[in-house]
């Protein structure tokens, strides 16, 4: 088969089960009927496999920085915990050495 553009000979390649004719001169590609759809289908399968993870759930509020060993504070991790400590701990713990 000759290239319809530059008349150089075309070579047949197989790419993932799709027959592709490529011109040895101008590197142009000729697709048979249905081959473009086959390539499109293959492309969409590939991008599904390599899809990035879904974005992380947004934080309810900007958390104050704290050390790695800090207790969970309010909001998403056991908010009742803190208020409890505050009421019981304030007079005793915040007023002594």
């Amino acid at each position: 088969m000759q290239c319809p553009k530059c008349r150089a000979p075309m070579h047949t390649y197989n790419r993932n089960g799709v027959q592709i004719e490529q011109c040895s001169g101008c590197r142009g590609i000729f697709l048979d009927y249905g081959e473009l759809e086959s390539l499109t289908r293959l492309e969409s399968q590939w991008s599904q496999q390599a899809a990035p993870p879904p974005p992380a759930a947004p934080q309810a509020y900007p958390a104050a920085p704290q050390p790695a060993w800090g207790a969970p504070h309010g909001g998403h991790h056991g908010g009742h915990h803190y208020g409890h400590h505050r009421n019981k701990g304030f007079g005793r713990m915040l007023f002594s050495s």
Binding site: A63, A64, P65, Q66, P67, A68, W69, G70, A71, P72, H73, G74, H81, Y82, H84, H85, R86, N87, K88, G89, F90, G91, R92, M93, L94, F95, S96, S97
Partner: protein, 310 residues
Amino acid sequence: MTAIPLLPELTARAEGIAHTRTPACSCEASGTLADRPDGTVVRHADTVAKAHAPDADATELTRRLALASRHPDVLLPPLDSVPADLHGRLVTFWPYGSPVDPDDPDAAPWEAVGTLLALLHRTPVPEAAPVMRGPLKAARAVAGLRAVGDHPAVAPVRDAWVTLPAWARAEAPMPQPAALCHGDLHLGQLVRTPGASWRLIDVDDLGAGTPAWDLGRPAAWFACGLLAPQEWGRFLDAYRAAGGPALDAAEDPWAVLDVPARALTVQTAARTVTKAVADGRPLDEVDHALIDACRRIAAVPAELAHESTK
């Protein structure tokens, strides 16, 4: 050795000073404010007398009184510049000030705490300043666990203690640069006198040291879940707004606060466990919040940034 009746004599001394200051004294609102092994405090009307710890050093205490007299905008100034002697105990006299209300968490003056610490830390450190005693107090609290014996809360507290660098355990000098530090900050260390705003009291641990230590106790409360993020933020913002040097240029305050907050969590846990066992009281959820924090501290290595500070 005969036990000396300290309390009645201290009370009489306070009354004597109060009547010198105010001959027509109402003698109202008088009594004992604190009576502990490391200090006894009594009040007579507008005058307070404090008998310091039996091992208090007269020279160092005199220097600390001088610092309080020199900075009356930050520290409550004493009535006398030298301590008196009462049967071998050093005694100092002070104007009475209203304390922070321990029953009203919403009224806690977090802005004042942050601002006063910043002002104190910005004060020039005199050459003869004593050393701030915070790490020493922490080490003593941990040593006090010996009295507790075999109790399941002791191991986590000791495991957390050994994560600390030597300076935080009072086994090496504190990192430079030093600032004038309070050394034992908590909400019982602020009073308000008539016509004045809040001032810091209790000079026993005052001296040259690492200023982050003074931020360490509020940081420990926050990290243990005893202080809300909002209140912690008010304290920190006030400290920064008043130019407090401990967090200078620190993008993440925890690079500076990690070690002091660990140390003060351990100290507080050691004290509360020791006291609960001595009193025969079972540990409650607040004690457990501190002990749980000690477990987490032991599981995470301390920031090394502070140790490499020159």
